[in-house]
């Protein structure tokens, strides 16, 4: 958990702080769109929570439609 938070703090310092200083809100929105899920996935992984696989879910959907070998 500690290392994850340290790693993401680096991203905040390197990328998010300069964007806020430039007041580029559109860039901030784009960055947060990937930063927040990345942080959420990372925290879930380190706390041992099993995250469902999106590809497994889509695979099950395709199988139910008969689209698989």
């Amino acid at each position: 958990m500690f290392y994850v938070l340290v790693g993401f703090s680096f991203i905040v310092l390197i990328d998010i702080v300069p964007i806020i200083k430039r007041r580029s809100w559109r860039s901030l929105a784009a960055l947060l769109l990937v930063f927040i899920p990345a942080l959420a996935f990372a925290l879930l992984l380190v706390t041992g929570v099993e995250v469902p696989s999106s590809l497994k879910f889509l695979g099950d959907v395709l199988k139910s439609l008969g689209l698989s070998y």
């Binding site: 430039r22 559109r26 860039s27 784009a30 769109l33 996935f41 590809l55 698989s68 070998y69």
Partner: protein
């Protein structure tokens, strides 16, 4: 609006395509487990079936020379539907990046660092790839020519050194499987290495290319890349025969068999290094494409700030995709070809048809 102002030469463009296809050499096990010694035939079928697809990608590049895929979608489907489909492509590119990153981690664990956690390997890789992506397309494509030359040299040397272990009988019997097996194999080869070239539609504005000569570059890259995969599989089948399906990495096993005295043995290390380099290139390219697609969707030019966060998401998301290599391979054989067909064939085809019907781009926009 061009996100990345950098441009690459046509030569770098061709080498990037070759490098991108060669990086999929590891995934030949998806087909060898289905069509055994006929794998080379399936790759040949796949290359032939892929020609209209490459023509389709080329036609989109020629019709919209100053637009990347996300811009083309916005133009053809309108701002709302275009952005929704564009978001789908961002997911597609991100998933491809994550899958290749996990492949690289698994392969490195298998060959060099069996006790190193996958997470650490993926993180180390992503830190470097993010640094490259921040520099733009020029840095991404810079070493592609060198990577291709090294990969082709290793392929040629390995074929020459394995000539004494190749047997014509290993290709027999031919065409003895059911038609469905060949269809499945061709579908896999069409969607997994070749169809993924759709990612190159994202860098169309960054290639110094004339409208007239555009066609031959994509085809040249595709044919050379496809032929190197074909020759690698022919070599593997000639040495291993129908036992090829027993190995997750047939090329690694085959090159391990090279033995010319004490000096020339354990050559698989060269193959492993080359494959890691090629996979690294593919990850860098796909991460770059993901970043550019995201920047395009939000209409921003400062794409460099997105690289690290996309890299972090690639690692965290990649860890959730498949629990192990076996599940990944099964999914690659049974499900992924159908899923990727949507992004690699159906949407580009529909886009092309609608663009033609709407007479897009208009005369003013065409270069």
């Amino acid at each position: 609006m061009r996100i990345d102002k950098g441009q690459i030469s046509t030569k770098k463009f061709i080498f990037s395509i070759i490098c991108y296809i060669q990086a999929s050499a590891m995934l030949t096990s998806f087909i060898t487990a289905i069509v055994y010694q006929d794998s080379w035939l399936v790759i040949l079928f796949g290359m032939i079936v892929c020609v209209p697809l490459i023509w389709l990608f080329n036609s989109l590049m020629v019709a919209f020379p100053d637009m990347n895929l996300i811009q083309i979608l916005n133009k053809v489907y309108g701002p709302v539907a275009g952005k929704v489909i564009g978001a789908g492509y961002i997911w597609f590119f991100l998933t491809l990046s994550s899958l290749n990153l996990m492949d690289l981690g698994d392969f490195t664990k298998l060959t060099f660092m069996d006790e190193m956690p996958l997470l650490v390997l993926a993180l180390m890789c992503v830190i470097v790839t993010s640094m490259v992506v921040r520099k733009g397309i020029k840095a991404v494509a810079w070493y592609s020519s060198m990577f291709v030359v090294v990969a082709v040299a290793i392929l040629v040397i390995s074929i020459l050194l394995l000539l004494n272990q190749m047997h014509y009988e290993n290709f027999l019997p031919t065409l003895h499987l059911s038609v469905l097996d060949y269809v499945q194999g061709t579908h896999i080869i069409l969607t997994i290495p070749f169809g993924e070239l759709v990612a190159f539609l994202m860098i169309t504005p960054n290639v110094k290319i004339s409208r007239e000569n555009n066609r031959k570059h994509l085809f040249t890259g595709f044919i050379v890349g496809g032929l190197t995969i074909l020759f690698a599989v022919v070599r593997d089948v000639a040495v291993l025969g129908n036992t090829i399906d027993m190995f997750t990495l047939p090329s690694l096993v085959v090159i391990r068999l090279v033995r010319l005295g004490e000096a020339l043995s354990r050559m698989e290390i060269l193959f492993a290094i080359v494959l890691i380099i090629l996979l690294f290139f593919k990850i860098v390219f796909l991460q770059y494409v993901t970043v550019i697609a995201l920047a395009q969707l939000f209409n921003i030019t400062s794409f460099r700030y997105l690289a690290l966060s996309v890299g972090a998401l690639m690692v965290a998301y990649g860890m959730t995709l498949y629990p192990n290599v076996v599940v990944h391979a099964a999914s690659g054989r049974e499900i992924i070809p159908f899923l990727w067909t949507l992004f690699e064939i159906l949407i580009p085809l529909l886009t092309f048809i609608i663009a033609k019907a709407r007479k897009l781009p208009g005369k003013k926009e065409a270069r």
